[in-house]
Protein backbone atom coordinates (compact mmCIF):
# COMPACT_ATOMS: atom_id res chain seq x y z
CA UNK A 1 0.00 0.00 0.00
CA UNK A 2 2.67 2.59 0.78
CA UNK A 3 4.30 1.64 -2.55
CA UNK A 4 2.06 3.85 -4.65
CA UNK A 5 2.27 6.74 -2.25
CA UNK A 6 6.02 6.47 -2.16
CA UNK A 7 6.30 6.98 -5.90
CA UNK A 8 5.00 10.46 -5.30
CA UNK A 9 3.39 11.07 -8.63
CA UNK A 10 6.21 11.34 -11.09
CA UNK A 11 3.54 12.13 -13.72
CA UNK A 12 2.60 15.34 -11.97
CA UNK A 13 6.23 16.18 -11.40
CA UNK A 14 6.96 15.95 -15.10
CA UNK A 15 3.87 17.91 -16.03
CA UNK A 16 3.56 20.67 -13.50
CA UNK A 17 7.08 21.37 -12.32
CA UNK A 18 8.91 24.42 -13.47
CA UNK A 19 12.58 24.55 -12.74
CA UNK A 20 14.70 27.57 -13.59
CA UNK A 21 17.77 27.21 -15.74
CA UNK A 22 21.01 27.73 -13.85
CA UNK A 23 22.65 31.04 -14.61
CA UNK A 24 19.66 32.15 -16.62
CA UNK A 25 19.23 35.50 -14.90
CA UNK A 26 19.14 33.76 -11.53
CA UNK A 27 15.75 33.93 -9.87
CA UNK A 28 14.16 35.72 -12.80
CA UNK A 29 13.39 32.12 -13.55
CA UNK A 30 13.93 31.36 -17.21
CA UNK A 31 12.63 27.83 -17.28
CA UNK A 32 12.69 25.20 -19.97
CA UNK A 33 9.27 26.41 -21.05
CA UNK A 34 10.54 29.91 -21.73
CA UNK A 35 13.53 28.42 -23.53
CA UNK A 36 11.07 26.41 -25.62
CA UNK A 37 9.19 29.59 -26.52
CA UNK A 38 12.43 31.24 -27.61
CA UNK A 39 13.25 28.23 -29.76
CA UNK A 40 9.78 28.41 -31.30
CA UNK A 41 10.16 32.12 -32.02
CA UNK A 42 13.62 31.69 -33.59
CA UNK A 43 12.29 28.76 -35.60
CA UNK A 44 9.45 30.93 -36.88
CA UNK A 45 11.86 33.67 -37.94
CA UNK A 46 14.19 31.18 -39.62
CA UNK A 47 11.34 29.52 -41.44
CA UNK A 48 9.49 32.55 -42.70
CA UNK A 49 12.21 35.08 -43.48
CA UNK A 50 13.39 33.24 -46.61
CA UNK A 51 9.72 32.86 -47.57
CA UNK A 52 9.28 36.62 -47.56
CA UNK A 53 12.48 37.13 -49.48
CA UNK A 54 11.55 34.65 -52.19
CA UNK A 55 8.09 36.17 -52.45
CA UNK A 56 9.70 39.50 -53.19
CA UNK A 57 11.52 37.98 -56.15
CA UNK A 58 8.54 36.18 -57.68
CA UNK A 59 5.52 37.95 -56.29
CA UNK A 60 2.56 35.86 -57.41
CA UNK A 61 3.82 32.33 -57.77
CA UNK A 62 6.10 31.13 -54.99
CA UNK A 63 9.02 28.94 -55.98
CA UNK A 64 10.68 26.22 -54.02
CA UNK A 65 9.30 23.32 -52.06
CA UNK A 66 9.24 24.74 -48.54
CA UNK A 67 7.64 27.91 -49.82
CA UNK A 68 4.88 25.99 -51.51
CA UNK A 69 4.29 23.91 -48.40
CA UNK A 70 3.99 26.98 -46.23
CA UNK A 71 1.74 28.58 -48.79
CA UNK A 72 -0.76 25.74 -48.43
CA UNK A 73 -1.09 26.35 -44.72
CA UNK A 74 -1.18 30.13 -45.02
CA UNK A 75 -3.84 30.11 -47.73
CA UNK A 76 -5.87 27.56 -45.79
CA UNK A 77 -5.93 29.95 -42.84
CA UNK A 78 -6.80 32.89 -45.07
CA UNK A 79 -9.58 31.24 -47.03
CA UNK A 80 -11.22 29.09 -44.39
CA UNK A 81 -10.78 31.14 -41.25
CA UNK A 82 -10.28 34.80 -42.03
CA UNK A 83 -12.29 35.43 -45.20
CA UNK A 84 -15.60 33.94 -43.96
CA UNK A 85 -15.57 35.95 -40.74
CA UNK A 86 -13.73 39.14 -41.56
CA UNK A 87 -14.21 39.50 -45.29
CA UNK A 88 -11.60 40.75 -47.71
CA UNK A 89 -11.08 43.83 -45.57
CA UNK A 90 -9.82 41.56 -42.82
CA UNK A 91 -6.66 40.81 -44.75
CA UNK A 92 -4.82 43.43 -42.74
CA UNK A 93 -5.21 41.26 -39.64
CA UNK A 94 -3.66 38.28 -41.38
CA UNK A 95 -0.04 38.76 -40.18
CA UNK A 96 -1.10 38.62 -36.54
CA UNK A 97 -3.35 35.64 -37.12
CA UNK A 98 -0.69 33.77 -39.08
CA UNK A 99 1.88 34.47 -36.37
CA UNK A 100 -0.50 33.29 -33.66
CA UNK A 101 -1.25 30.07 -35.50
CA UNK A 102 2.34 29.16 -36.22
CA UNK A 103 3.62 30.17 -32.80
CA UNK A 104 1.04 28.02 -31.02
CA UNK A 105 1.73 25.19 -33.49
CA UNK A 106 5.48 25.29 -32.95
CA UNK A 107 5.11 25.49 -29.17
CA UNK A 108 2.78 22.49 -29.23
CA UNK A 109 5.13 20.51 -31.43
CA UNK A 110 8.22 21.22 -29.32
CA UNK A 111 6.57 19.26 -26.54
CA UNK A 112 6.53 16.21 -28.76
CA UNK A 113 10.25 16.13 -29.46
CA UNK A 114 11.75 13.14 -27.73
CA UNK A 115 14.90 13.12 -25.65
CA UNK A 116 17.66 14.57 -27.84
CA UNK A 117 21.02 13.89 -26.22
CA UNK A 118 23.01 16.91 -27.39
CA UNK A 119 20.39 19.32 -26.10
CA UNK A 120 20.85 19.23 -22.38
CA UNK A 121 20.32 22.32 -20.34
CA UNK A 122 21.57 22.88 -16.79
CA UNK A 123 18.61 23.16 -14.48
CA UNK A 124 18.44 24.15 -10.86
CA UNK A 125 16.44 21.56 -8.95
CA UNK A 126 14.18 22.21 -6.01
CA UNK A 127 16.93 21.57 -3.49
CA UNK A 128 19.07 24.26 -5.10
CA UNK A 129 21.50 21.81 -6.67
CA UNK A 130 22.26 22.12 -10.36
CA UNK A 131 21.64 19.06 -12.44
CA UNK A 132 21.44 18.38 -16.15
CA UNK A 133 17.99 17.97 -17.58
CA UNK A 134 16.96 17.04 -21.06
CA UNK A 135 15.44 19.63 -23.34
CA UNK A 136 12.84 17.54 -25.06
CA UNK A 137 9.36 16.71 -23.80
CA UNK A 138 8.67 20.14 -22.36
CA UNK A 139 5.65 21.83 -23.88
CA UNK A 140 5.70 25.59 -23.54
CA UNK A 141 1.94 25.66 -23.97
CA UNK A 142 1.73 23.04 -21.25
CA UNK A 143 2.15 25.84 -18.71
CA UNK A 144 -1.05 27.66 -17.91
CA UNK A 145 0.88 30.92 -17.69
CA UNK A 146 2.02 30.71 -21.30
CA UNK A 147 -1.43 29.99 -22.69
CA UNK A 148 -2.98 32.60 -20.41
CA UNK A 149 -0.51 35.18 -21.70
CA UNK A 150 -1.30 34.31 -25.31
CA UNK A 151 -5.00 34.43 -24.62
CA UNK A 152 -4.86 37.74 -22.73
CA UNK A 153 -2.78 39.34 -25.48
CA UNK A 154 -5.22 38.14 -28.13
CA UNK A 155 -8.15 39.29 -25.98
CA UNK A 156 -6.71 42.76 -25.48
CA UNK A 157 -5.98 42.88 -29.21
CA UNK A 158 -9.50 42.16 -30.38
CA UNK A 159 -11.12 44.36 -27.78
CA UNK A 160 -8.88 47.31 -28.64
CA UNK A 161 -9.53 46.77 -32.33
CA UNK A 162 -13.26 46.65 -31.67
CA UNK A 163 -13.12 49.89 -29.71
CA UNK A 164 -11.01 51.53 -32.40
CA UNK A 165 -13.41 50.42 -35.10
CA UNK A 166 -16.66 51.46 -33.48
CA UNK A 167 -15.64 54.13 -31.02
CA UNK A 168 -15.80 53.62 -27.27
CA UNK A 169 -19.42 54.67 -26.68
CA UNK A 170 -20.82 52.61 -29.52
CA UNK A 171 -18.75 49.61 -28.42
CA UNK A 172 -20.06 49.78 -24.88
CA UNK A 173 -23.61 50.16 -26.15
CA UNK A 174 -23.18 47.19 -28.45
CA UNK A 175 -22.16 44.89 -25.61
CA UNK A 176 -25.83 44.42 -24.83
CA UNK A 177 -28.18 43.19 -27.54
CA UNK A 178 -30.60 45.77 -28.82
CA UNK A 179 -34.32 46.00 -28.22
CA UNK A 180 -34.53 45.08 -24.56
CA UNK A 181 -36.79 46.32 -21.76
CA UNK A 182 -34.98 48.86 -19.60
CA UNK A 183 -34.94 46.87 -16.39
CA UNK A 184 -33.15 43.98 -18.10
CA UNK A 185 -30.18 45.97 -19.37
CA UNK A 186 -27.98 46.20 -16.21
CA UNK A 187 -28.22 42.47 -15.54
CA UNK A 188 -27.52 41.57 -19.14
CA UNK A 189 -24.57 44.00 -19.23
CA UNK A 190 -22.92 42.21 -16.34
CA UNK A 191 -23.64 38.83 -17.88
CA UNK A 192 -22.13 39.88 -21.21
CA UNK A 193 -19.03 41.29 -19.53
CA UNK A 194 -18.56 38.04 -17.64
CA UNK A 195 -19.03 36.28 -20.97
CA UNK A 196 -16.18 38.30 -22.47
CA UNK A 197 -13.86 37.36 -19.64
CA UNK A 198 -14.92 33.73 -19.80
CA UNK A 199 -14.13 33.59 -23.52
CA UNK A 200 -10.55 34.63 -22.82
CA UNK A 201 -10.21 32.22 -19.91
CA UNK A 202 -11.69 29.38 -21.93
CA UNK A 203 -9.24 29.93 -24.77
CA UNK A 204 -6.29 29.63 -22.40
CA UNK A 205 -7.73 26.73 -20.47
CA UNK A 206 -8.68 24.71 -23.55
CA UNK A 207 -5.19 24.90 -25.05
CA UNK A 208 -3.46 24.15 -21.77
CA UNK A 209 -5.74 21.27 -20.82
CA UNK A 210 -5.40 19.61 -24.22
CA UNK A 211 -1.60 19.75 -24.13
CA UNK A 212 -1.22 18.72 -20.49
CA UNK A 213 -3.88 16.02 -20.64
CA UNK A 214 -2.32 14.47 -23.69
CA UNK A 215 1.05 14.32 -22.02
CA UNK A 216 -0.48 12.88 -18.85
CA UNK A 217 -2.02 10.03 -20.83
CA UNK A 218 1.30 9.48 -22.61
CA UNK A 219 3.22 9.30 -19.34
CA UNK A 220 0.63 6.98 -17.84
CA UNK A 221 0.87 4.67 -20.85
CA UNK A 222 4.65 4.65 -20.74
CA UNK A 223 4.70 4.29 -16.98
CA UNK A 224 2.69 1.10 -16.98
CA UNK A 225 5.96 -0.79 -17.22
CA UNK A 226 7.25 0.72 -14.00
CA UNK A 227 4.03 0.40 -12.08
CA UNK A 228 3.18 -3.14 -13.11
CA UNK A 229 6.74 -4.35 -13.21
CA UNK A 230 6.98 -4.17 -9.45
CA UNK A 231 4.13 -6.60 -8.93
CA UNK A 232 4.50 -10.38 -8.93
CA UNK A 233 8.27 -10.47 -8.98
CA UNK A 234 9.59 -8.98 -12.20
CA UNK A 235 8.21 -11.26 -14.86
CA UNK A 236 5.49 -8.87 -16.02
CA UNK A 237 8.01 -6.35 -17.25
CA UNK A 238 8.42 -7.67 -20.80
CA UNK A 239 4.72 -8.16 -21.72
CA UNK A 240 3.79 -4.88 -20.09
CA UNK A 241 6.69 -3.28 -21.93
CA UNK A 242 5.23 -4.35 -25.26
CA UNK A 243 1.75 -3.12 -24.31
CA UNK A 244 2.99 0.18 -23.02
CA UNK A 245 5.20 0.94 -26.01
CA UNK A 246 2.41 0.17 -28.48
CA UNK A 247 -0.19 2.22 -26.64
CA UNK A 248 2.35 4.98 -26.10
CA UNK A 249 3.01 5.18 -29.84
CA UNK A 250 -0.70 5.35 -30.62
CA UNK A 251 -1.17 8.13 -28.08
CA UNK A 252 1.83 9.88 -29.63
CA UNK A 253 0.16 10.00 -33.04
CA UNK A 254 -2.99 11.32 -31.42
CA UNK A 255 -0.90 13.99 -29.71
CA UNK A 256 0.52 15.17 -33.03
CA UNK A 257 -3.00 15.49 -34.42
CA UNK A 258 -4.16 17.33 -31.30
CA UNK A 259 -1.21 19.74 -31.58
CA UNK A 260 -2.29 20.82 -35.07
CA UNK A 261 -5.97 20.82 -34.17
CA UNK A 262 -5.57 22.95 -31.05
CA UNK A 263 -3.49 25.52 -32.91
CA UNK A 264 -6.25 25.66 -35.53
CA UNK A 265 -9.01 25.96 -32.92
CA UNK A 266 -7.15 28.73 -31.08
CA UNK A 267 -6.69 30.75 -34.26
CA UNK A 268 -10.25 30.07 -35.38
CA UNK A 269 -11.75 31.30 -32.13
CA UNK A 270 -9.55 34.41 -32.05
CA UNK A 271 -10.75 35.24 -35.57
CA UNK A 272 -14.40 34.64 -34.67
CA UNK A 273 -14.16 36.85 -31.59
CA UNK A 274 -12.37 39.51 -33.60
CA UNK A 275 -15.18 39.42 -36.14
CA UNK A 276 -17.73 39.72 -33.35
CA UNK A 277 -15.87 42.69 -31.87
CA UNK A 278 -15.56 44.49 -35.18
CA UNK A 279 -19.09 43.85 -36.44
CA UNK A 280 -21.45 42.91 -33.65
CA UNK A 281 -24.36 41.20 -35.27
CA UNK A 282 -26.80 42.09 -32.54
Amino acid sequence: MPLFLAEKSWIAEHLLDVEPIAGGLGHLGISKHVLGMFVAAIGLILLFAPFGRSLRQSPIVPRGRVTNLLEILLIFIRDDITRPFLGKAGDKFLPVIWTLFFFVLFCNLIGLLPLIPPFYVPVVGHDGATHWSFFGLVTPTGQIYVTATLSVIAGAWWHLLGIKEQGLVAYVKNIVPGGLPLWLIPMLFVIELVGHVIKIVALALRLWANMTGGHAVLFAALGMVIMFGHLLGGWMTIPMGAVSIISGTIVYFLEIFVAFLQAYVFTFLVTVFLGMALHPDH
Binding site: M1, P2, L5, K8, S9, I11, A12, E13, L15, L16, D17, D80, A202, L205, R206, W208, A209, N210, T212, G213, A216, L261, Q262, Y264, V265, F268
Partner: protein, 86 residues
Protein backbone atom coordinates in the same frame (compact mmCIF):
# COMPACT_ATOMS: atom_id res chain seq x y z
CA UNK B 1 0.80 5.00 9.55
CA UNK B 2 -2.13 7.23 10.36
CA UNK B 3 -5.09 5.41 8.83
CA UNK B 4 -7.50 8.30 9.13
CA UNK B 5 -5.12 10.41 7.07
CA UNK B 6 -4.82 7.68 4.46
CA UNK B 7 -8.60 7.42 4.29
CA UNK B 8 -8.95 11.16 3.75
CA UNK B 9 -6.25 11.25 1.10
CA UNK B 10 -7.81 8.28 -0.65
CA UNK B 11 -11.27 9.83 -0.60
CA UNK B 12 -10.02 13.11 -2.03
CA UNK B 13 -8.07 11.51 -4.82
CA UNK B 14 -10.80 8.96 -5.49
CA UNK B 15 -13.51 11.59 -5.85
CA UNK B 16 -11.25 13.52 -8.21
CA UNK B 17 -10.94 10.39 -10.32
CA UNK B 18 -14.73 9.95 -10.33
CA UNK B 19 -15.09 13.54 -11.48
CA UNK B 20 -12.65 12.96 -14.32
CA UNK B 21 -14.60 9.89 -15.37
CA UNK B 22 -17.87 11.85 -15.45
CA UNK B 23 -16.20 14.48 -17.62
CA UNK B 24 -15.10 11.73 -19.99
CA UNK B 25 -18.73 10.49 -20.16
CA UNK B 26 -19.82 14.01 -21.13
CA UNK B 27 -17.15 14.19 -23.84
CA UNK B 28 -18.13 10.78 -25.20
CA UNK B 29 -21.83 11.67 -25.39
CA UNK B 30 -21.19 15.01 -27.08
CA UNK B 31 -18.63 13.88 -29.62
CA UNK B 32 -20.54 10.70 -30.40
CA UNK B 33 -23.60 12.74 -31.22
CA UNK B 34 -21.55 15.10 -33.40
CA UNK B 35 -20.04 12.15 -35.27
CA UNK B 36 -23.41 10.52 -35.77
CA UNK B 37 -25.08 13.62 -37.18
CA UNK B 38 -22.07 14.28 -39.39
CA UNK B 39 -22.26 10.77 -40.83
CA UNK B 40 -25.98 11.23 -41.48
CA UNK B 41 -25.28 14.49 -43.24
CA UNK B 42 -22.62 12.92 -45.44
CA UNK B 43 -24.98 10.04 -46.23
CA UNK B 44 -27.64 12.47 -47.35
CA UNK B 45 -25.33 14.62 -49.44
CA UNK B 46 -22.04 12.97 -50.36
CA UNK B 47 -20.75 15.98 -52.28
CA UNK B 48 -20.72 18.06 -49.08
CA UNK B 49 -18.48 15.51 -47.36
CA UNK B 50 -15.44 17.80 -47.15
CA UNK B 51 -17.33 20.67 -45.55
CA UNK B 52 -19.12 18.41 -43.12
CA UNK B 53 -15.92 16.68 -42.10
CA UNK B 54 -14.21 20.00 -41.38
CA UNK B 55 -17.12 21.26 -39.29
CA UNK B 56 -17.25 17.98 -37.43
CA UNK B 57 -13.61 18.13 -36.38
CA UNK B 58 -13.88 21.76 -35.33
CA UNK B 59 -17.00 21.17 -33.24
CA UNK B 60 -15.48 18.07 -31.70
CA UNK B 61 -12.48 20.12 -30.56
CA UNK B 62 -14.76 22.68 -28.95
CA UNK B 63 -16.84 20.08 -27.11
CA UNK B 64 -13.66 18.38 -25.98
CA UNK B 65 -12.54 21.72 -24.57
CA UNK B 66 -15.59 21.76 -22.35
CA UNK B 67 -14.90 18.23 -21.12
CA UNK B 68 -11.30 19.20 -20.44
CA UNK B 69 -12.46 21.98 -18.12
CA UNK B 70 -13.84 19.20 -15.93
CA UNK B 71 -10.55 17.32 -16.16
CA UNK B 72 -8.70 20.44 -15.08
CA UNK B 73 -10.81 20.70 -11.94
CA UNK B 74 -10.18 17.03 -11.22
CA UNK B 75 -6.44 17.54 -11.70
CA UNK B 76 -6.53 20.50 -9.34
CA UNK B 77 -8.23 18.53 -6.60
CA UNK B 78 -5.99 15.51 -7.11
CA UNK B 79 -2.91 17.62 -6.57
CA UNK B 80 -4.48 19.23 -3.54
CA UNK B 81 -5.21 15.89 -1.90
CA UNK B 82 -2.20 14.35 -0.27
CA UNK B 83 -1.67 11.76 -2.96
CA UNK B 84 0.22 13.59 -5.57
CA UNK B 85 1.10 16.80 -7.18
CA UNK B 86 4.00 19.11 -7.74
Amino acid sequence: MDYMLLAEIGTGAGLAAVGAGLAAIGAGLGIGRIGGQACEGIARQPEAAGDIRGSMILTAALVEGAALFGIVIALLFWTKSGMGGA
